[in-house]
Assembly symmetry: D2
Homo-oligomer: 366 residues x 4
């Protein structure tokens, strides 16, 4: 059973490869009557688009989205919404030299052994380019959630390689190419990236995403818990190696007297839970942190093998992000939005309308 | 859509509450012809059973499993396998005082608001007792995977509260009540737990699980990636707040020249990937690490509210694990086994039999 | 992927074999807050129970149902509801002689070849006994639908072998062992059945089921149409070979001017559609007709082969229904109720509460 | 949960509306390594294309298909295959007059009440035009099934309105616009259709489809039986009101001594089962018959209501098939192929490769 669909009630089925004619998705289950046009989707696509600074891949893609179905006279009709994005800048020659070898850290080895065939052009299906349709679909989810519950999504980079990025303000995120919620550290980040590129190396990143104004009650325990589904969605983003909810790994060394968030008539006193208890949203901010590994494609030669099992040296000369984490913030937001959208519909199915639309007060919201 | 089923092709649907008449599950999709009796399942249940040391809850449950269907003359028939475990030691009075208030850190608040009703006896459906049927089902998966591919599962506690537990040998795990792969640190762990209990407090833990001899090719990108599904399964275990695959959060500060595992004709040189590339198993060990929060039920009084929203103080006098992480190792192994089992069948559906049954050599296997 | 689950949001996963220790099911997705006890379920089970007249199998089963989970203080909690029915009258010896041969018309041949193993005792998993848990689960769906929308389900036998059974009144159905909506034809039916038994033969039947007071809007085109799902559910009942909605096969010879149901401000003028247009309920009665083949187990010797492919003669001496259609009416009602329940929740997920709860007037309701 | 996906392992998710910019689908789960290009798909699309005779709608659509993904160097890669068909002849003005009224027999009334909005242009999503992507997807399934097992699909019209069409030979089907397996009755059918058109009326049809060389063992009882899934797929085709497998409704009046197909070492002696026993394929021909209602769009004025509930008269002047059954044969074949494809993969998941690839001999194959 191939796993190219996200969600169970608000489903997003994507298609396409990095260097094929087009990428896109079919969204099934969108509630009818939502005002929708390409103008609602394009801005989110533009946030993750390549080529917008010297610190990301220089591939030129306008990522122009076309809605093929599911909208009539500017409103969703409840039928599937198909989004189409034509690929424009597929320089297949860049990848010709890697068709016969397996690049370390990449999916080449595993796709080859699983399917017995692989599309080597730009990573084919395993390329991070495939996050574009997801971001497009999530724009629809974000709009509906905001209209329905006032839910909003925020994200930022909190660590780049060894450099911590202290949180200052959400307002700062859009003002730099790193999605940093900080104004002071930007020169340091730029210098760090410039050196990495010169060294032919790459680095990892940590991204934080938050959902605010989430209704109480979303999540379907005891397996499709909200945090379990978030972990699934986040770990499914290219290059993610770790996921935390709330206090995350810090909770290991916490005592019960510290970790368990006390309640008062005015709301919770803390948010170690990250907005989820027993797999169900509490109404507090949902806080998620993810680890993104360093880009596998680097100019430094690396040891590998070819299809015949013989030793080979791999150097990558194509266009790549030296830190894939730089463009990951809007993608992580998108995944979180899709999970909440799906669970909003799932909740409605079994329990009817949300009972507690006003979220509990989160004492420590930043 | 209620989420009480694990898996898509090897499905486990559980039922039951902590203090109801019984718990159990229905397993659908088990391949026919597997030798199976209760004797294959009971030992795994016994590993996670309560009451086996002074460091865990003193609830007395034999957790005796009965196979109700799906087996004929000692072999699976391909039809659903139902497992039944009767609850024996439900002292509902222990929980009478908490029916009206929401215990901090527990699912009381969220179940109440989601469903408009909740079973307060021992946490009802949200109790960790519900991991028993999962462990039972996973015993079947483990047996099949071992017969088919030689796959084995190992797990240990690597941190208890602030105490790191260095890995010495898998052989040591069964010799102490903590599932520690270490013989020297046990007295320290025991003293730590004794003090916690005296203080009326609790602590968290970190658990590591490993799958060895995994065939190459399991995982269904680009969403149902093997690591995404593992993250879902792990985060769905009660009290888990973080999940890492391979290098996990350490990969943030790694360089690309360090992280990407090089290949040689003899196999991979390292395993930062944790056995998964592009969402598909590489044949190396699959390595997973999870963070478990401190038990929410503690004897120290805590502030909360009641159903009417009025302030209330909560003290817990029932029987509880002061560190739920102590019994989490077999549960985490079980979850990993169920994910691999499911993906073994999913692989077979689309791609036929596994192409590379002999796993790549993992240079750094411990 | 094994197919032992009915429904997508109100899911019923059954387990058990005809002569195993127990049969039952797990129902996931039931809305919380519904009053429920065994007393709501047992009467429906009693309607399909064997041994209630001389015209059905003489197997003695009380079919006593136990609710194992999902109910607290007499109300559903939104968690899985497990139903357990112990088998009481499994005379395995009756079936010993058929373990090596394939009975014509039965699933013996196909189960053997599919799974490489089969439980021959009473047909194992393929026995019509497995309709009991479905009827139990449907009792819950019926109760919820009636409370929510006033929906009610009715069914009757309309043909027994060559004998047509004209519809007189729904009130007559409970007054005879055939579920006939007719009082006059009963002696003829009894004589027909008595002769069949004496001849060691069996016959088919036609069953009609109707749902009344169905809200407008249920059904999820363009594949999970309400009528498509009904056809799936009905054809899945043991021995069913045909399904019609509304005018059914009569519509082939109808003209468009006759078939298309005209609308007036007071409702539809006719119901050739059978209450479904474009896969969505119209609010009219949903009318379904099914064909049930003659029982395959008969005392007359028949030609077959054994597992080795050698010729063999099969005679059946066990206890069997000479017309499985006689007990099919409550089963068909149950299937229809489960489909509507599932679609009521599915509708709620995407579209919110039903917009037109008052059904359109059905001019030709009987 | 919206139902725009067919299948569980070989999934086809369609999108598009009759008069939108495009229609298409995403196929997920196709086995890798299959030779595939548009040339494999286009011929099947051409078989159901409109405008090919005077007896069907005169809408001009080339139905040219473009493969957007999932194929590399002429072979499937195991990743999603997206098919795109641009709509070319959308004369929206034809339908302007029906936006405010509900056409009898159409989905207008139900879509409006379900979603609160509907795309009235050519029936929007409910148009039979949406069968085109299904036929395209099925071309892939047919190719794989034929290569893997030799399975082939055949279909014909067996009744047009009141006119029976005796079966003569499969070879005759392609030689007339009705898909009749008969050469003699064609003039009569043409005259019948010409009169219907002149009268502004429409008629129904009966279609038969057959799958030959089906492996033994396909089907997932006890709910996802092969025949149950076929019934679902067939009843989901626009305008279908009845489905039969094998003897179908004739089995009601059959005796057990007649209906149950006896076995010999050379195969089955008859095929009342229609190739399915206990929900699993027997290896005999799978035989299916469906009833298609008369086209709802006719030129004869009909009574209806408008959105405000006021009386209205509806006349249809657009381009329509006077018998939608005429183009239904390739669609029904496609649905059957998709069901078998899906179950071939499902079988492989649980049971591994098919055990009995050589089908049992069907004594009465025509």
């Amino acid at each position: 059973m191939s796993g190219n669909t996200l969600g169970t009630l608000f489903t997003v089925t994507t298609f396409g490869e990095s260097h094929g004619p087009a990428i896109g998705c079919v969204i099934d289950g969108c509630p009818p009557g939502l005002d929708l046009s390409e103008a609602d989707i394009q801005p989110e696509l533009d946030r993750r688009r390549p080529g917008t600074s010297r610190h990301v891949t220089q591939r030129q893609e306008s990522d122009t989205v076309e809605i093929l179905s599911g909208v009539y006279q500017g409103k969703t009709t409840g039928t599937p919404i198909a989004l189409l994005i034509r690929n424009e800048d597929q320089r297949s020659k860049d990848y010709g030299n890697i068709a016969e070898t397996f690049r370390p850290g990449h999916a080449d080895y595993t796709y080859w052994h699983k399917y017995g065939i692989r599309d080597p052009r730009g990573g084919g299906r395993s390329s991070a380019r495939l996050t574009a349709p997801v971001v497009g679909a999530a724009a629809i989810a974000k709009k509906w959630l905001q209209q329905q519950y006032g839910t909003v999504f925020k994200g930022c980079m909190s660590q780049l390689g060894e450099i911590d990025i202290p949180f200052q303000s959400w307002d700062l995120v859009a003002g730099n190419p790193f999605f940093a919620a900080n104004a002071d550290v930007i020169p340091q980040l730029e210098a760090y990236m410039d050196k990495l590129r010169k060294d032919g190396d790459s680095c990892g990143a940590r991204i934080e995403v938050v959902a605010q104004n989430v209704p109480v009650g979303l999540g379907e325990p005891i397996y499709d818990k909200l945090d379990a589904e978030i972990a699934y969605a986040m770990m499914g983003i290219n290059a993610v190696k770790g996921v935390e909810i709330g206090a995350g790994f810090k909770s290991v060394a916490q005592k019960g007297t510290e970790h368990g968030d006390e309640l008062t008539p005015d709301g919770f006193r803390s948010n170690n839970a990250g907005g989820v208890l027993g797999g169900i949203s509490t109404g507090q901010d949902i806080t998620v942190s993810i680890a993104i590994k360093p880009t596998s494609s680097i100019r430094t030669p690396r040891q590998s093998i070819d299809k015949a099992g013989q030793p080979a040296t791999v150097e990558t000369f194509g266009r790549h992000d030296p830190c894939v984490g730089i463009r990951a913030t809007p993608i992580a937001e998108a995944m979180l939005a899709l999970v909440l959208m799906d669970h909003a519909l799932r909740h409605r199915a079994q329990c009817g309308d949300v009972r507690v639309a006003t979220p509990a007060i989160a004492a420590n919201r930043r």
